[in-house]
């Protein structure tokens, strides 16, 4: 029986040399592959987190690196948790978070359900709908500022056309009552396609034979929706909510472009205030404590959510 050249070389190599070359165990090889990733994770995630926790107990100011740093204990946390302005920021964040998720899930799922129907130009419509999320938040913020202009804005004109109101009679970005809704509308416009895509993936993963079996059992379309479509898309939907929830909790760029946190502080979300404390007032210790509070909140919420997601998947 003739051996191939590689086999011949392998057999001719003395055992000791072969061991030296191939002596790495599977575990060692796994560590070689995983090691760089773990190091990178430690360097850019874990170390900054630990450092931020450390800074949150100090009065450190990043613009005065030579000033002696004092440990102030829990004073930064105490100040933040007794500050009524930050409490208002949290309420603004909650308003933004809840309404964007509600609208994005409702509209996103409806769009996915419609796109999932086979019709002419299906792919073209998908591309058109997905366009907003491909744009930069800075660009979106800028052109929605024009849309919301009371005199020349398209949004005011459209609202005026349908309601009969004078387009220049209301200011979306300048009004205390309307500005929180203005940012919700823009975020919904931009990120609904993302939720739609995830829902679409869920809808397309449902095998047709389940619907065929349901149809044979004379289940109505309504019943098919509630007992097949929705339960099978639910894990995807929950994933979309998780992603959007975390993302919107730390929303910054879009809102800064649109309102800069105003009028007053009605749209000043927690992350905007955090940035002001960290890089305008340079209260690094204080802002580190603020960041830790936000981190623990997001981490806690994500833990609950992942647990719920796993339960839904198990069903």
């Amino acid at each position: 029986m003739s051996l191939d050249p590689v086999e011949q070389v392998a057999r001719a190599t003395p055992v000791t040399v072969a061991k030296k070359i191939r002596g790495l165990s599977d575990r060692a090889i796994a560590w070689i592959f995983v090691g760089p990733t773990i190091l990178l994770l430690l360097a850019i995630n874990i170390f900054p987190l630990i450092w931020t926790i450390n800074l949150s107990f100090t009065n450190y100011k990043a613009n005065r690196p030579n000033r002696p740093v004092e440990y102030v204990g829990l004073r930064n946390y105490e100040r933040i948790l007794n500050d009524s302005d930050i409490w208002l920021n949290m309420q603004a964040t909650a308003h933004f978070l809840v309404w964007t998720i509600v609208f994005q899930v409702l509209i996103g799922f409806t769009l996915a359900w419609l796109i999932n129907k086979k019709f002419k130009g299906n792919d073209l419509w998908t591309t058109i709908i997905v366009l907003p999320m491909m744009l930069s938040p800075a660009v979106v913020g800028n052109f929605w500022t024009f849309f919301y202009q009371p005199q020349i804005g398209l949004f005011n004109y459209v609202v005026g056309f349908f309601t009969g109101a004078d387009p220049s009679s209301f200011e979306m970005l300048g009004s205390v009552d309307l500005a929180p809704w203005a940012i919700v509308i823009v975020d919904t416009w931009m990120w609904t396609p993302f939720v739609m895509l995830i829902c679409l993936a869920g809808l397309r993963s449902i095998p047709n034979y389940i619907y065929e079996a349901a149809a044979i059992d004379r289940a109505s379309k309504w019943r098919q929706f509630w007992t097949i479509t929705l339960p099978m898309v639910l894990p995807f939907l929950m994933l979309a909510v998780l992603f959007r929830g975390i993302e919107n909790f730390k929303m910054f760029d879009l809102v800064v472009q649109l309102t800069g946190g105003g009028p007053g502080s009605t749209t000043e979300l927690a992350s905007i205030n955090l940035k002001r404390e960290a890089f305008e007032k340079w209260r690094t210790g204080y802002s580190s404590a603020f960041a830790i509070i936000l981190f623990v909140t997001v981490f806690g919420l994500a833990s609950i959510y992942v647990k719920a997601l796993n339960k839904v998947k198990e069903r």
């Binding site: 946390y77 948790l81 007794n82 009524s84 409490w87 949290m90 309420q91 964040t93 909650a94 509070i293 623990v296 909140t297 981490f299 806690g300 919420l301 833990s303 609950i304 647990k307």
Partner: protein
């Protein structure tokens, strides 16, 4: 309900995770509610207790 309490008594993961989840949810609500300042003040410690508890009890037996 009795299952829940017996789970807590026997240090079972499900019951303790449920409790931790409840504490986190209350903490987050306290942080973002518009009704009482004292609730906002104690929100962080509530969420922190819930989150740490969640991490610990995830290692309890099923």
């Amino acid at each position: 309900m009795s299952n829940f309490f017996s789970g807590l008594w026997r240090f079972r993961r499900g019951a303790w995770e449920m409790l931790a989840t409840l504490i986190i949810a209350i903490g987050v609500f306290m942080l973002m509610q518009p009704f009482a300042m004292w609730a906002y003040t104690y929100s962080f410690i509530t969420t922190l207790i819930g989150t740490v508890m969640f991490i610990v009890v995830s290692h309890f037996p099923d």
